[in-house]
Protein backbone atom coordinates (compact mmCIF):
# COMPACT_ATOMS: atom_id res chain seq x y z
CA UNK A 1 0.00 0.00 0.00
CA UNK A 2 1.37 3.39 -0.90
CA UNK A 3 0.94 6.59 1.02
CA UNK A 4 -0.93 8.10 -1.92
CA UNK A 5 -3.43 5.30 -1.91
CA UNK A 6 -4.00 5.57 1.79
CA UNK A 7 -4.57 9.30 1.53
CA UNK A 8 -7.01 8.85 -1.33
CA UNK A 9 -8.81 6.10 0.53
CA UNK A 10 -9.25 8.27 3.59
CA UNK A 11 -10.42 11.12 1.36
CA UNK A 12 -13.11 8.79 -0.01
CA UNK A 13 -14.41 8.08 3.48
CA UNK A 14 -18.11 7.32 3.58
CA UNK A 15 -20.26 10.46 3.76
CA UNK A 16 -22.31 8.86 6.56
CA UNK A 17 -19.24 8.88 8.75
CA UNK A 18 -18.60 12.51 7.96
CA UNK A 19 -22.20 13.34 8.82
CA UNK A 20 -21.77 11.57 12.15
CA UNK A 21 -18.57 13.51 12.70
CA UNK A 22 -20.09 16.90 11.99
CA UNK A 23 -23.12 16.11 14.14
CA UNK A 24 -20.88 15.17 17.01
CA UNK A 25 -18.73 18.24 16.47
CA UNK A 26 -21.82 20.44 16.61
CA UNK A 27 -23.00 18.69 19.78
CA UNK A 28 -19.62 19.08 21.42
CA UNK A 29 -19.49 22.75 20.53
CA UNK A 30 -23.00 23.22 21.93
CA UNK A 31 -22.19 21.71 25.29
CA UNK A 32 -18.61 22.81 25.56
CA UNK A 33 -17.41 22.85 29.12
CA UNK A 34 -15.86 25.97 30.60
CA UNK A 35 -12.09 26.12 30.40
CA UNK A 36 -10.28 23.95 32.89
CA UNK A 37 -8.44 25.68 35.63
CA UNK A 38 -5.17 23.95 36.37
CA UNK A 39 -4.99 25.29 39.89
CA UNK A 40 -7.97 23.16 40.84
CA UNK A 41 -6.02 19.91 40.82
CA UNK A 42 -3.18 21.40 42.83
CA UNK A 43 -5.63 22.89 45.28
CA UNK A 44 -7.32 19.50 45.53
CA UNK A 45 -4.01 17.86 46.23
CA UNK A 46 -3.23 20.39 48.93
CA UNK A 47 -6.71 19.86 50.36
CA UNK A 48 -6.07 16.15 50.41
CA UNK A 49 -2.93 16.59 52.49
CA UNK A 50 -4.78 19.03 54.70
CA UNK A 51 -7.44 16.40 55.23
CA UNK A 52 -4.84 13.88 56.35
CA UNK A 53 -3.25 16.29 58.77
CA UNK A 54 -6.55 17.63 60.09
CA UNK A 55 -7.99 14.18 60.62
CA UNK A 56 -4.83 13.12 62.37
CA UNK A 57 -4.82 16.17 64.58
CA UNK A 58 -8.44 15.63 65.53
CA UNK A 59 -7.73 12.07 66.49
CA UNK A 60 -4.50 12.78 68.27
CA UNK A 61 -5.73 14.09 71.67
CA UNK A 62 -7.80 10.99 72.35
CA UNK A 63 -5.07 8.67 71.21
CA UNK A 64 -2.13 9.64 73.29
CA UNK A 65 -2.50 9.06 76.96
CA UNK A 66 0.79 7.85 78.13
CA UNK A 67 3.86 7.82 76.01
CA UNK A 68 6.53 9.28 78.16
CA UNK A 69 6.53 7.58 81.52
CA UNK A 70 7.98 4.31 80.37
CA UNK A 71 9.50 5.14 77.01
CA UNK A 72 8.05 3.88 73.77
CA UNK A 73 7.14 0.49 75.06
CA UNK A 74 4.10 1.83 76.91
CA UNK A 75 0.58 1.82 75.61
CA UNK A 76 -1.65 4.22 73.74
CA UNK A 77 -5.29 4.40 74.62
CA UNK A 78 -7.90 4.76 71.96
CA UNK A 79 -11.48 4.42 73.09
CA UNK A 80 -10.51 1.74 75.55
CA UNK A 81 -8.45 -0.15 72.97
CA UNK A 82 -4.81 -0.55 73.74
CA UNK A 83 -2.18 -0.30 71.06
CA UNK A 84 1.32 -1.47 71.69
CA UNK A 85 3.96 1.00 70.66
CA UNK A 86 6.12 -1.74 69.19
CA UNK A 87 3.39 -2.52 66.72
CA UNK A 88 3.22 1.11 65.71
CA UNK A 89 6.93 1.10 65.08
CA UNK A 90 6.51 -2.00 63.02
CA UNK A 91 3.57 -0.52 61.17
CA UNK A 92 5.58 2.48 60.05
CA UNK A 93 8.05 0.38 58.21
CA UNK A 94 5.55 -1.19 55.88
CA UNK A 95 5.99 1.90 53.78
CA UNK A 96 9.39 1.90 52.12
CA UNK A 97 10.58 5.45 51.69
CA UNK A 98 8.42 7.21 54.19
CA UNK A 99 9.37 4.76 56.88
CA UNK A 100 12.90 6.04 56.83
CA UNK A 101 11.70 9.62 56.90
CA UNK A 102 9.37 8.73 59.76
CA UNK A 103 12.22 7.26 61.70
CA UNK A 104 14.21 10.39 61.17
CA UNK A 105 11.33 12.61 62.25
CA UNK A 106 10.70 10.56 65.36
CA UNK A 107 14.32 10.64 66.15
CA UNK A 108 14.25 14.43 65.85
CA UNK A 109 11.05 14.98 67.73
CA UNK A 110 11.64 12.27 70.28
CA UNK A 111 7.96 12.00 71.05
CA UNK A 112 4.80 10.40 69.72
CA UNK A 113 3.12 13.55 68.39
CA UNK A 114 3.99 12.83 64.79
CA UNK A 115 2.98 9.19 64.93
CA UNK A 116 -0.60 9.31 63.75
CA UNK A 117 -0.20 11.51 60.66
CA UNK A 118 2.72 9.38 59.61
CA UNK A 119 0.72 6.27 60.19
CA UNK A 120 -1.86 7.54 57.74
CA UNK A 121 0.79 8.45 55.23
CA UNK A 122 2.12 4.93 55.60
CA UNK A 123 -1.00 3.61 53.97
CA UNK A 124 -0.45 5.82 50.96
CA UNK A 125 3.22 5.28 50.31
CA UNK A 126 3.37 1.86 48.65
CA UNK A 127 0.38 2.51 46.40
CA UNK A 128 1.73 5.87 45.30
CA UNK A 129 5.10 4.52 44.32
CA UNK A 130 3.52 1.50 42.78
CA UNK A 131 1.23 3.70 40.80
CA UNK A 132 4.29 5.42 39.31
CA UNK A 133 5.70 2.09 38.22
CA UNK A 134 2.40 0.87 36.80
CA UNK A 135 2.00 4.04 34.83
CA UNK A 136 5.51 3.74 33.54
CA UNK A 137 4.83 0.19 32.41
CA UNK A 138 1.61 1.16 30.71
CA UNK A 139 3.19 4.07 28.90
CA UNK A 140 6.31 2.26 27.81
CA UNK A 141 4.87 -1.13 26.91
CA UNK A 142 1.79 -0.51 24.88
CA UNK A 143 1.60 -4.01 23.48
CA UNK A 144 2.67 -6.06 26.44
CA UNK A 145 1.28 -3.82 29.11
CA UNK A 146 -0.92 -6.44 30.68
CA UNK A 147 1.91 -8.86 31.33
CA UNK A 148 4.09 -6.05 32.62
CA UNK A 149 1.38 -4.86 34.98
CA UNK A 150 0.98 -8.38 36.31
CA UNK A 151 4.73 -8.61 36.73
CA UNK A 152 4.82 -5.43 38.78
CA UNK A 153 1.85 -6.53 40.89
CA UNK A 154 3.53 -9.89 41.46
CA UNK A 155 6.69 -8.07 42.47
CA UNK A 156 4.74 -6.06 45.02
CA UNK A 157 3.03 -9.12 46.46
CA UNK A 158 6.22 -11.14 46.65
CA UNK A 159 7.95 -8.23 48.35
CA UNK A 160 5.17 -7.85 50.89
CA UNK A 161 5.02 -11.59 51.54
CA UNK A 162 8.78 -11.89 51.94
CA UNK A 163 8.86 -8.85 54.17
CA UNK A 164 6.14 -10.27 56.41
CA UNK A 165 7.67 -13.70 56.52
CA UNK A 166 11.12 -12.45 57.43
CA UNK A 167 9.75 -10.26 60.19
CA UNK A 168 7.55 -12.98 61.58
CA UNK A 169 10.27 -15.54 61.48
CA UNK A 170 12.77 -13.32 63.22
CA UNK A 171 10.41 -12.06 65.90
CA UNK A 172 7.98 -14.84 66.59
CA UNK A 173 9.75 -17.76 64.94
CA UNK A 174 6.99 -17.96 62.35
CA UNK A 175 4.09 -18.47 64.74
CA UNK A 176 1.84 -15.89 63.11
CA UNK A 177 3.45 -15.91 59.73
CA UNK A 178 0.50 -17.19 57.68
CA UNK A 179 -2.33 -14.95 59.00
CA UNK A 180 -0.01 -12.00 59.02
CA UNK A 181 1.12 -12.55 55.43
CA UNK A 182 -2.50 -13.07 54.31
CA UNK A 183 -3.55 -9.88 55.99
CA UNK A 184 -0.82 -7.83 54.41
CA UNK A 185 -1.33 -9.39 51.00
CA UNK A 186 -5.03 -8.54 51.09
CA UNK A 187 -4.20 -5.01 52.04
CA UNK A 188 -1.60 -4.76 49.27
CA UNK A 189 -4.04 -6.19 46.70
CA UNK A 190 -6.74 -3.77 47.76
CA UNK A 191 -4.39 -0.83 47.52
CA UNK A 192 -3.16 -2.05 44.15
CA UNK A 193 -6.70 -2.47 42.83
CA UNK A 194 -7.65 0.95 44.04
CA UNK A 195 -4.76 2.64 42.41
CA UNK A 196 -4.98 0.59 39.23
CA UNK A 197 -8.72 1.14 38.97
CA UNK A 198 -8.47 4.84 39.44
CA UNK A 199 -5.57 5.09 37.06
CA UNK A 200 -7.40 3.23 34.32
CA UNK A 201 -10.53 5.28 34.82
CA UNK A 202 -8.45 8.40 34.70
CA UNK A 203 -6.72 7.24 31.53
CA UNK A 204 -9.54 5.84 29.47
CA UNK A 205 -12.93 6.68 30.93
CA UNK A 206 -12.62 10.10 32.43
CA UNK A 207 -15.88 11.28 30.95
CA UNK A 208 -17.78 8.04 31.47
CA UNK A 209 -20.02 8.41 34.49
CA UNK A 210 -20.93 4.70 34.55
CA UNK A 211 -17.32 3.67 34.96
CA UNK A 212 -16.83 6.17 37.73
CA UNK A 213 -19.89 4.79 39.50
CA UNK A 214 -18.57 1.25 39.06
CA UNK A 215 -15.28 2.22 40.61
CA UNK A 216 -17.05 3.95 43.49
CA UNK A 217 -19.14 0.82 44.12
CA UNK A 218 -16.05 -1.36 43.84
CA UNK A 219 -14.26 0.89 46.31
CA UNK A 220 -17.10 0.62 48.79
CA UNK A 221 -17.20 -3.16 48.51
CA UNK A 222 -13.43 -3.34 48.91
CA UNK A 223 -13.70 -1.08 51.93
CA UNK A 224 -16.30 -3.37 53.51
CA UNK A 225 -14.24 -6.48 52.79
CA UNK A 226 -11.22 -4.79 54.25
CA UNK A 227 -13.06 -3.83 57.42
CA UNK A 228 -14.56 -7.30 57.72
CA UNK A 229 -11.20 -8.98 57.26
CA UNK A 230 -9.69 -6.70 59.86
CA UNK A 231 -12.51 -7.59 62.24
CA UNK A 232 -11.99 -11.32 61.65
CA UNK A 233 -8.24 -11.17 61.99
CA UNK A 234 -8.19 -8.79 64.92
CA UNK A 235 -8.33 -11.40 67.73
CA UNK A 236 -5.35 -13.25 66.29
CA UNK A 237 -3.27 -10.29 65.34
CA UNK A 238 -4.04 -8.16 68.37
CA UNK A 239 -2.06 -10.52 70.55
CA UNK A 240 1.21 -9.13 69.35
CA UNK A 241 0.53 -6.51 66.71
CA UNK A 242 -2.55 -4.76 68.03
CA UNK A 243 -4.17 -4.69 64.60
CA UNK A 244 -7.61 -4.28 66.06
CA UNK A 245 -10.16 -1.55 66.51
CA UNK A 246 -7.80 1.26 65.77
CA UNK A 247 -6.93 -0.23 62.39
CA UNK A 248 -10.59 -0.84 61.80
CA UNK A 249 -11.24 2.80 62.47
CA UNK A 250 -8.35 4.20 60.49
CA UNK A 251 -8.51 1.99 57.43
CA UNK A 252 -11.73 3.41 56.01
CA UNK A 253 -10.34 6.89 56.41
CA UNK A 254 -7.01 6.02 54.88
CA UNK A 255 -8.57 4.10 52.02
CA UNK A 256 -10.82 7.04 51.15
CA UNK A 257 -7.82 9.33 51.19
CA UNK A 258 -5.99 6.75 49.11
CA UNK A 259 -8.74 6.80 46.52
CA UNK A 260 -8.77 10.57 46.25
CA UNK A 261 -5.03 10.72 46.23
CA UNK A 262 -4.54 8.09 43.54
CA UNK A 263 -7.14 9.82 41.42
CA UNK A 264 -5.31 13.09 41.73
CA UNK A 265 -2.01 11.40 41.02
CA UNK A 266 -3.53 10.04 37.86
CA UNK A 267 -3.85 13.61 36.72
CA UNK A 268 -0.46 14.97 37.67
CA UNK A 269 1.98 12.09 37.32
CA UNK A 270 4.21 11.96 34.29
CA UNK A 271 6.62 9.44 32.90
CA UNK A 272 9.69 11.54 33.47
CA UNK A 273 12.17 10.33 36.05
CA UNK A 274 10.26 7.09 36.40
CA UNK A 275 13.45 5.08 36.49
CA UNK A 276 14.56 7.11 39.46
CA UNK A 277 11.20 6.50 41.10
CA UNK A 278 11.56 2.77 40.56
CA UNK A 279 15.06 2.85 42.00
CA UNK A 280 13.80 4.85 44.95
CA UNK A 281 11.11 2.28 45.55
CA UNK A 282 13.57 -0.61 45.60
CA UNK A 283 16.05 1.29 47.75
CA UNK A 284 13.22 2.16 50.08
CA UNK A 285 12.27 -1.48 50.50
CA UNK A 286 15.85 -2.42 51.31
CA UNK A 287 16.13 0.50 53.69
CA UNK A 288 12.83 -0.43 55.27
CA UNK A 289 13.96 -3.99 55.91
CA UNK A 290 17.25 -2.83 57.30
CA UNK A 291 15.86 -0.23 59.68
CA UNK A 292 12.91 -2.36 60.72
CA UNK A 293 14.96 -5.37 61.64
CA UNK A 294 17.45 -3.24 63.42
CA UNK A 295 14.76 -1.44 65.42
CA UNK A 296 12.82 -4.54 66.24
CA UNK A 297 15.98 -6.16 67.50
CA UNK A 298 16.09 -3.50 70.21
CA UNK A 299 12.59 -2.06 70.32
CA UNK A 300 13.10 0.37 73.18
CA UNK A 301 15.95 2.19 71.51
CA UNK A 302 15.53 4.73 68.75
CA UNK A 303 18.20 4.67 66.04
CA UNK A 304 20.50 7.06 67.77
CA UNK A 305 23.26 4.58 68.35
CA UNK A 306 24.23 4.31 64.71
CA UNK A 307 23.52 7.73 63.35
CA UNK A 308 25.80 7.42 60.35
CA UNK A 309 24.03 4.42 58.83
CA UNK A 310 20.61 5.85 59.51
CA UNK A 311 21.51 9.21 58.04
CA UNK A 312 22.89 7.57 54.90
CA UNK A 313 19.61 5.76 54.30
CA UNK A 314 17.59 8.84 55.11
CA UNK A 315 19.59 11.05 52.77
CA UNK A 316 19.43 8.56 49.90
CA UNK A 317 15.71 7.96 50.23
CA UNK A 318 14.82 11.58 50.76
CA UNK A 319 17.01 12.65 47.85
CA UNK A 320 15.38 10.19 45.50
CA UNK A 321 11.93 11.12 46.63
CA UNK A 322 12.54 14.85 46.31
CA UNK A 323 14.11 14.26 42.91
CA UNK A 324 10.92 12.53 41.83
CA UNK A 325 8.81 15.43 43.01
CA UNK A 326 11.07 17.92 41.24
CA UNK A 327 10.78 15.82 38.09
CA UNK A 328 7.02 15.86 38.25
CA UNK A 329 6.94 19.58 38.86
CA UNK A 330 9.39 20.34 36.06
CA UNK A 331 7.41 18.25 33.61
CA UNK A 332 4.27 20.05 34.60
CA UNK A 333 5.91 23.42 33.95
CA UNK A 334 7.31 22.27 30.60
CA UNK A 335 3.95 20.94 29.47
CA UNK A 336 2.36 24.19 30.47
CA UNK A 337 4.97 26.12 28.51
CA UNK A 338 4.41 23.98 25.42
CA UNK A 339 0.66 24.37 25.73
CA UNK A 340 0.99 28.13 25.97
CA UNK A 341 3.31 28.34 22.98
CA UNK A 342 0.84 26.28 20.95
CA UNK A 343 -1.98 28.58 21.92
Amino acid sequence: MTQEKLIDAITDLDSGILNRYFDMKANLAAKKKPKKRTWVKWASLAACFALIITASMLLYPSVVEDISSDGYENLFLFGGITVNMNSIFWAFFIAPVFSVVCTFLMWLIDSGIIILPLWLIRDLCIPILHFCILKRCIMKNKIQKKSTIWLVIALLLVTVAADSFVLEYLILKGRLAIPHIIFRLIWAILCGLFVLGHTLVERFYRNNIHCNIMVAVGSTIALCINAFMTYLLAPTLATKYAIDGIELFLMPLSIIILSVYSHLLGRIMTRRFMFVKLTGWLLGIIASEFVTLWLLGTPRILPTEDKVTTIIWIVVSAFVFIWCLVGVFRTYLENRKIQRSKE
Partner: protein, 196 residues
Protein backbone atom coordinates in the same frame (compact mmCIF):
# COMPACT_ATOMS: atom_id res chain seq x y z
CA UNK B 1 -15.14 36.86 -7.10
CA UNK B 2 -15.67 39.21 -4.17
CA UNK B 3 -17.26 37.49 -1.25
CA UNK B 4 -19.19 38.84 1.70
CA UNK B 5 -18.00 37.42 4.96
CA UNK B 6 -19.17 39.98 7.48
CA UNK B 7 -22.71 38.86 8.09
CA UNK B 8 -23.61 35.66 9.90
CA UNK B 9 -25.02 32.59 8.20
CA UNK B 10 -28.78 32.53 8.03
CA UNK B 11 -29.50 30.02 5.29
CA UNK B 12 -29.87 26.33 5.82
CA UNK B 13 -27.84 23.80 3.85
CA UNK B 14 -30.90 22.81 1.84
CA UNK B 15 -31.50 26.42 0.82
CA UNK B 16 -27.89 26.85 -0.22
CA UNK B 17 -27.99 23.66 -2.30
CA UNK B 18 -31.20 24.91 -3.87
CA UNK B 19 -29.41 28.12 -4.85
CA UNK B 20 -26.70 26.03 -6.53
CA UNK B 21 -29.36 24.20 -8.43
CA UNK B 22 -30.85 27.49 -9.55
CA UNK B 23 -27.34 28.53 -10.68
CA UNK B 24 -27.54 31.53 -8.39
CA UNK B 25 -24.13 32.96 -7.49
CA UNK B 26 -25.52 33.87 -4.12
CA UNK B 27 -24.97 30.18 -3.31
CA UNK B 28 -21.22 30.68 -3.24
CA UNK B 29 -21.56 33.77 -1.09
CA UNK B 30 -23.74 31.92 1.38
CA UNK B 31 -21.32 28.99 1.38
CA UNK B 32 -18.50 31.38 2.08
CA UNK B 33 -20.36 32.99 4.94
CA UNK B 34 -21.24 29.70 6.52
CA UNK B 35 -18.22 27.48 5.86
CA UNK B 36 -15.22 29.65 5.04
CA UNK B 37 -13.65 29.24 8.46
CA UNK B 38 -14.08 25.48 8.45
CA UNK B 39 -12.79 25.08 4.90
CA UNK B 40 -9.78 27.28 5.55
CA UNK B 41 -8.93 25.26 8.65
CA UNK B 42 -9.04 22.05 6.59
CA UNK B 43 -6.80 23.59 3.94
CA UNK B 44 -4.40 25.09 6.47
CA UNK B 45 -4.00 21.74 8.21
CA UNK B 46 -2.91 20.22 4.93
CA UNK B 47 -0.97 22.86 3.00
CA UNK B 48 0.08 24.98 5.97
CA UNK B 49 0.16 28.17 3.96
CA UNK B 50 -2.40 30.95 4.00
CA UNK B 51 -2.03 31.92 0.32
CA UNK B 52 -2.33 28.31 -0.78
CA UNK B 53 -5.30 27.84 1.52
CA UNK B 54 -7.07 30.85 -0.01
CA UNK B 55 -6.45 29.45 -3.47
CA UNK B 56 -7.73 26.05 -2.37
CA UNK B 57 -10.81 27.78 -1.00
CA UNK B 58 -11.54 29.40 -4.35
CA UNK B 59 -10.91 26.11 -6.14
CA UNK B 60 -13.31 24.44 -3.75
CA UNK B 61 -16.03 26.96 -4.51
CA UNK B 62 -15.49 26.45 -8.22
CA UNK B 63 -15.49 22.68 -7.74
CA UNK B 64 -18.72 22.87 -5.76
CA UNK B 65 -20.30 25.13 -8.40
CA UNK B 66 -19.41 22.57 -11.05
CA UNK B 67 -20.51 19.58 -8.98
CA UNK B 68 -23.95 20.90 -7.99
CA UNK B 69 -25.91 20.07 -10.06
CA UNK B 70 -25.94 17.17 -10.84
CA UNK B 71 -25.05 16.34 -7.25
CA UNK B 72 -27.54 17.15 -4.50
CA UNK B 73 -25.59 16.63 -1.26
CA UNK B 74 -27.59 15.83 1.84
CA UNK B 75 -24.81 17.11 4.10
CA UNK B 76 -23.26 20.14 2.53
CA UNK B 77 -20.47 20.51 5.04
CA UNK B 78 -19.22 16.98 4.44
CA UNK B 79 -19.49 17.53 0.71
CA UNK B 80 -17.51 20.76 0.84
CA UNK B 81 -14.99 19.23 3.21
CA UNK B 82 -14.41 16.39 0.80
CA UNK B 83 -13.82 18.73 -2.14
CA UNK B 84 -11.56 20.92 -0.07
CA UNK B 85 -9.55 17.95 1.13
CA UNK B 86 -8.99 16.73 -2.42
CA UNK B 87 -8.03 20.20 -3.59
CA UNK B 88 -5.69 20.77 -0.69
CA UNK B 89 -4.08 17.37 -1.08
CA UNK B 90 -3.45 18.08 -4.76
CA UNK B 91 -1.85 21.36 -3.77
CA UNK B 92 0.12 19.63 -1.05
CA UNK B 93 1.45 17.08 -3.52
CA UNK B 94 2.38 19.79 -6.00
CA UNK B 95 4.23 21.67 -3.27
CA UNK B 96 5.86 18.52 -2.03
CA UNK B 97 7.39 17.88 -5.41
CA UNK B 98 9.25 21.14 -5.03
CA UNK B 99 10.02 21.17 -1.31
CA UNK B 100 9.15 19.44 1.92
CA UNK B 101 6.33 21.02 3.87
CA UNK B 102 6.09 20.79 7.63
CA UNK B 103 2.33 20.74 8.01
CA UNK B 104 0.00 19.03 10.46
CA UNK B 105 -0.98 16.82 7.56
CA UNK B 106 2.64 15.65 7.20
CA UNK B 107 2.70 14.83 10.88
CA UNK B 108 -0.58 12.92 10.74
CA UNK B 109 0.70 11.02 7.70
CA UNK B 110 3.90 10.08 9.46
CA UNK B 111 1.76 8.49 12.16
CA UNK B 112 0.40 6.11 9.56
CA UNK B 113 3.81 4.96 8.36
CA UNK B 114 3.13 1.54 9.89
CA UNK B 115 0.60 0.99 7.16
CA UNK B 116 2.91 1.84 4.31
CA UNK B 117 5.07 -0.89 2.89
CA UNK B 118 7.12 -1.32 -0.24
CA UNK B 119 4.64 -3.67 -1.77
CA UNK B 120 3.37 -1.58 -4.62
CA UNK B 121 3.43 -4.50 -6.98
CA UNK B 122 1.28 -6.64 -4.77
CA UNK B 123 -1.31 -4.00 -3.97
CA UNK B 124 -1.31 -2.25 -7.30
CA UNK B 125 -4.44 -4.09 -8.30
CA UNK B 126 -6.36 -3.08 -5.25
CA UNK B 127 -8.65 -0.26 -6.03
CA UNK B 128 -8.57 2.80 -3.84
CA UNK B 129 -12.33 2.67 -3.62
CA UNK B 130 -12.21 -0.79 -2.08
CA UNK B 131 -9.65 0.33 0.42
CA UNK B 132 -11.78 3.36 1.21
CA UNK B 133 -14.75 1.08 1.73
CA UNK B 134 -12.75 -1.12 4.06
CA UNK B 135 -11.54 1.87 6.07
CA UNK B 136 -15.07 3.26 6.11
CA UNK B 137 -16.38 -0.02 7.47
CA UNK B 138 -13.79 0.05 10.19
CA UNK B 139 -14.45 3.68 11.12
CA UNK B 140 -18.22 3.07 11.10
CA UNK B 141 -17.76 0.31 13.63
CA UNK B 142 -15.89 2.59 16.02
CA UNK B 143 -17.64 4.26 18.95
CA UNK B 144 -18.54 7.92 18.38
CA UNK B 145 -15.58 9.21 20.32
CA UNK B 146 -13.00 7.17 18.40
CA UNK B 147 -14.70 7.90 15.10
CA UNK B 148 -14.48 11.59 15.96
CA UNK B 149 -10.79 11.30 16.74
CA UNK B 150 -10.06 9.36 13.56
CA UNK B 151 -11.85 11.83 11.28
CA UNK B 152 -10.40 14.83 13.09
CA UNK B 153 -6.89 13.50 12.90
CA UNK B 154 -6.73 11.76 9.55
CA UNK B 155 -9.44 13.41 7.50
CA UNK B 156 -9.49 16.99 8.73
CA UNK B 157 -5.84 16.67 9.91
CA UNK B 158 -6.53 18.59 13.10
CA UNK B 159 -3.66 18.90 15.58
CA UNK B 160 -3.98 16.60 18.60
CA UNK B 161 -4.21 19.58 20.94
CA UNK B 162 -7.27 20.82 19.04
CA UNK B 163 -8.93 17.42 19.25
CA UNK B 164 -8.25 17.20 22.97
CA UNK B 165 -9.80 20.63 23.49
CA UNK B 166 -12.90 19.68 21.52
CA UNK B 167 -13.33 16.48 23.48
CA UNK B 168 -12.47 18.12 26.77
CA UNK B 169 -9.70 15.66 27.63
CA UNK B 170 -5.92 15.68 27.84
CA UNK B 171 -3.54 15.47 24.90
CA UNK B 172 -2.11 12.21 26.22
CA UNK B 173 -5.59 10.68 26.34
CA UNK B 174 -6.12 11.51 22.67
CA UNK B 175 -2.70 10.10 21.82
CA UNK B 176 -3.55 6.85 23.56
CA UNK B 177 -6.84 6.61 21.74
CA UNK B 178 -5.12 7.28 18.44
CA UNK B 179 -2.73 4.44 19.22
CA UNK B 180 -5.66 2.14 19.95
CA UNK B 181 -7.38 3.16 16.71
CA UNK B 182 -4.22 2.57 14.71
CA UNK B 183 -3.78 -0.88 16.16
CA UNK B 184 -7.42 -1.67 15.40
CA UNK B 185 -7.16 -0.35 11.86
CA UNK B 186 -3.99 -2.27 11.23
CA UNK B 187 -5.61 -5.50 12.38
CA UNK B 188 -8.66 -4.75 10.26
CA UNK B 189 -6.61 -4.08 7.14
CA UNK B 190 -4.49 -7.15 7.78
CA UNK B 191 -7.58 -9.29 8.13
CA UNK B 192 -8.77 -8.01 4.77
CA UNK B 193 -5.43 -8.67 3.14
CA UNK B 194 -4.29 -5.10 2.60
CA UNK B 195 -1.24 -5.40 4.79
CA UNK B 196 1.30 -8.11 5.20
Amino acid sequence: MELQTNRTATMSDEQIVELYWQRDEQAIKETDIKYKKFLLSVAMNIVHDMCDSEECLNDTYIGTWNAIPPARPVALQAFLGSIMRRTAIDRFRANKRQKRIASEFTVSLSELEDFIADDDDMTAEIETKELAKSISNFVSSLPDRQMFIFVSRYYIADPISTISKELGCSVSTVKREIEAIKIGLKKHLESEGYLL
